[in-house]
Amino acid sequence: MASRKVCVIGAGISGISVANDLSQAGIDVLLVDKNPYPGGQSVFYGCKATDECVRCGVCLVREAVATLKNQSTAQCHLSSRPVGYRAAGGSMELDIQTNPNLIDWQACVECGRCLEVCKEQAIERVPGWKYFVNEKCTACGKCVDACPVGAIRLNRSAETSTMQVDGIVLAAGYEPFDPGINRKWGFGENPRVVTGSQMENLFFQEKYLPREAESVAFVQCVGSRSVMEGEKHCSRVCCAYALRMAGRLKEEFPELKIDFYYMDIQRFGKNFDEFWKQIQGKINLIASNPISIKTDEQGLPVVRYESLPELACREQSYDVVVLSNGITPAAESESLADLFNLDLDAAGFLRPTGNGTSVAGSRVFTAGTCKQPMRIDDCVEDAATVARRVMKNLGVRQ
């Protein structure tokens, strides 16, 4: 029997996990991602372990990328997007458009010479992966000459290729909510107001906070559960990451004062009761959603909130304010829904039907945060289910 081909669109933790599972079963997998590197967003997130692993799952993402690089037979088409789709009868045809400037990751030996000669700082390295060319590239060609194995290719225009596939998995990921659209959050006006995603990147670089920081505020439900901002759903991940971050920060800076502004705390993990007990001693819980975040004369962010139950307006300044921004549908959700003729649910996520396929009878599946907010461990579990459903649908047995 000819081997089956499946295209996985999106190489974040979900896409990579599904690709690894499917390729282990002998399926030909084509992994497509708009970025020049795999790993999506969470590959740049940081470990939050204190003396105990808090199971944030970030190390799993780098594991998955390493497995993809070293063991998996999945073919990666990076800097690529789907631009056309035709399904007729039982066959599916997909057009993939690939960006012109590329480093062929399979040929690259990580010698580093391209990094040395590039004056524009257009070549970067992803942890666990190889090098990639970012948007600063001016196509001057110095790196092409410097590369000893000829792994760099610079073309003038994008290329499109067509492929026949037996199944498609959409793992397009999510868009972190941008607090800049609402002035009340003070984002973009004060550099000391950062989003949860930015904080994750700081954790990854092991930088955490400015040296003299004495107080931090975490603000939950930024862009979630809010009718005004048009995002009514709960993003599921923010309580988990913010509390874990708070725990790590308290360990790194024991004198730090941490205020936690919340509406409701969502549980996570199997030992939540113990976790909650020990974290309560480290943070100051304030059950209130801030009204606004402004800047005072010293340039520090000031949180203005309604203190319950007296309903009095209070103000408090901090060295850093972390806005725990939520998960909103992927930027490409609408165009993907158009392309593959799928439904979006009320919140804008790609809605799967009962058994995980997106349109009844089709072979288009959805995985990961493009269908609903998920934590990293949820994504890995979901990927196993999706892989199984794909294999069952394609009639692949072992």
Partner: protein
């Protein structure tokens, strides 16, 4: 010369153009007693296979970057040279020597030391002829509720025969109760499908004998009959809900029973959540769906008292909003007091968000969700399977190494509500992922024992069974006739904890005995 080892370095930095001089290394190694020859495979080498073939028949110590190990280069080389476990050793010299130290003298010194030390280990190890052990293509599913039935059906059509053990748990666990209301005949349908399937045989739990783990998996006898063998066990009992802890109150199971039977529920109904333990979001989903149904049928006055709103499931926030629109009254409470004096029942408390106090008088029915847990017989079965309980309610360790369905015992998978509170969709998804996990375990070619599995010296063993107790994988078996411990080779993962804990020093890891490890450390 067959006593000495060949060291093969596969990193560019070791080549003649690199910072280390291969000639230097060879000179220094010439004085070594363990490493006899040094081969460098760098980019200049055109035909690595030819170079390696020259040393066929000798033990090989490979050193290179971790990428080579992960990409299977060494296993491929081993295959081509016919090397068995115990005849080769692989070490990461890139991140642990070449990149770790600054000066080339430090690198050279440490590289030589490392090669000699590991050469010593390799010289003392015996080659192995391990043949993969094929597991039986049978699966035992413990649990006949929604989770067990779903798992059985997912497995049908997979060329595996399934034995299902019928337990006495309720068919739907808290979290899934709404599923039975939304699809009324669900459990009946699934049960009849399973019973009529030719791949599934159903046995009552009363007939089940003890589960033993053996070399090829597990064995059980039913009704004292012949021993049936399995390659894997799926542990899928349903959680059941504890009764409500207030006289006259219902728990959710009782409420749902009345809803199924379409008995009238009207008047003033109060749901009391979060009193003894927090309510998980799946159970809140059950409550909100029940509240909606009650409102639709009888327009009762419905109160839901809770401490935190759990909304982290898709669609849950909308359910709250719909319920509110239908007139359900949500109150967050603090300082709750229930007073029942001479038939006058008062519920009082304070709302922390407004500071106002509230009072609910003489509700017609109080519904208190009970904590959900596994039954005593399920916990018993878990113990015989060697599953380590977490917090008394989870049968899997809370660890990133064991996401989804794996437990600490290789070959035992956990599925469904036994893993935690799940809703209907979650159980269906879990049944699918357990089949994935099963396939990863029951590989058709069989399971090759890990290289460093435990080996017990029968003369020294005093049968204290410390090793059986400490093994994290439940992989140490007891040989009752000879009164020694015996590792199960398909379950042992070679961690060496038993070797460290044995008071009689009777256990060693294969190819990593105490003496050789010490000698190897000395050489560094």
């Amino acid at each position: 010369m067959s006593d000495s080892i060949v060291a093969v370095l596969c990193d560019q930095q070791c080549s003649s153009k690199g910072p280390l001089q291969a000639a230097n290394l060879t000179k220094r190694l010439a004085k070594s007693s363990t490493v006899g020859k040094l081969i460098v495979l760098d980019k200049a080498c055109q035909d690595p296979e030819k170079k390696l073939k020259k040393v066929a028949g000798q033990k090989i110590l490979f050193g290179g970057c971790p990428y080579l190990e992960e990409s299977g280069f060494y296993s491929l080389a081993a295959e081509k040279l016919g090397l068995r476990p115990g005849e080769m050793l692989v070490t990461d010299v890139k991140s642990s020597i070449l990149d770790l130290y600054d000066s080339s003298t430090a690198i050279e010194d440490n590289l030589i030391g490392r090669l000699e030390s590991l050469g010593r280990l390799l010289a003392d190890s015996a080659g192995l002829k391990d043949r993969p052990v094929k597991l039986k293509r049978n699966v035992l599913i413990f649990g006949s509720g929604y989770s067990g039935l779903k798992a059985a059906l997912e497995l049908s059509g997979e060329k595996l025969s399934v034995d299902l053990v019928e337990t006495e748990d309720p068919p739907l666990a808290p979290g899934c109760l709404a599923e039975g209301l939304v699809c009324p005949g669900l459990i009946k349908e699934l049960t009849s499908e399973v019973r009529t399937s030719e791949h599934v045989a159903v046995f009552p739990q009363a007939q089940m004998g003890p589960i033993q783990s053996v070399e090829k998996g597990f064995t059980v006898s039913f009704g004292g009959g012949e021993l049936r063998e399995y390659g894997a066990v799926i542990f899928a009992p349903e959680r059941s809900e504890a009764p409500a802890d207030q006289i006259g109150a219902w728990n959710l199971t009782q409420l749902y029973k009345r809803l199924h039977e379409r008995r009238p529920i009207k008047g003033r109904i109060v749901f009391l959540l979060d009193r003894r333990s927090e309510t998980p979001p799946e159970v809140i989903q059950d409550i909100l769906i029940a509240a909606k149904v009650i409102k639709e049928r009888s327009h009762a006055e419905l109160w839901i008292l809770l401490k935190q709103m759990r909304v982290a499931l898709p669609g849950l926030q909308e359910l709250y909003d719909t319920a509110r629109e239908m007139g359900v009254i949500f109150v967050k409470y603090e300082n709750l007091r229930l007073q029942n004096e001479f038939g006058d029942f008062q519920i009082t408390g304070e709302d922390p968000q407004t500071g106002a106090s509230f009072r609910i008088s003489n509700p017609d029915r109080v519904i208190i969700p009970g904590t959900s847990g596994l039954s005593a017989s399920a916990l018993n079965a878990a113990e015989t399977l060697g599953l380590r309980l977490l917090n008394g309610q989870y049968t899997q360790p809370y660890s990133l190494w064991r996401l989804a369905n794996e437990s600490n015992h290789p070959g035992v998978l956990v599925c469904g509500s036994a893993r935690g509170n799940m809703d209907g969709g979650g159980v269906a998804a879990d049944a699918a992922s357990v089949v994935q996990a099963l396939k990863a375990r029951m590989i058709p070619e069989g399971i090759t024992p890990v290289e460093h599995i435990a080996s017990v010296d029968a003369d020294k063993c005093v049968y204290c069974l410390t090793c059986v107790r400490v093994c994290p994988y439940h992989a140490m078996g007891k040989n009752i006739e000879e009164r020694v411990a015996q590792p199960v080779t398909t379950a042992c993962q070679g961690c060496g904890i038993c070797a460290a804990e044995c008071p009689a020093e009777a256990i060693d890891m294969r190819n990593l005995s105490r003496e050789t490890v010490l000698a190897a450390m000395q050489a560094l």
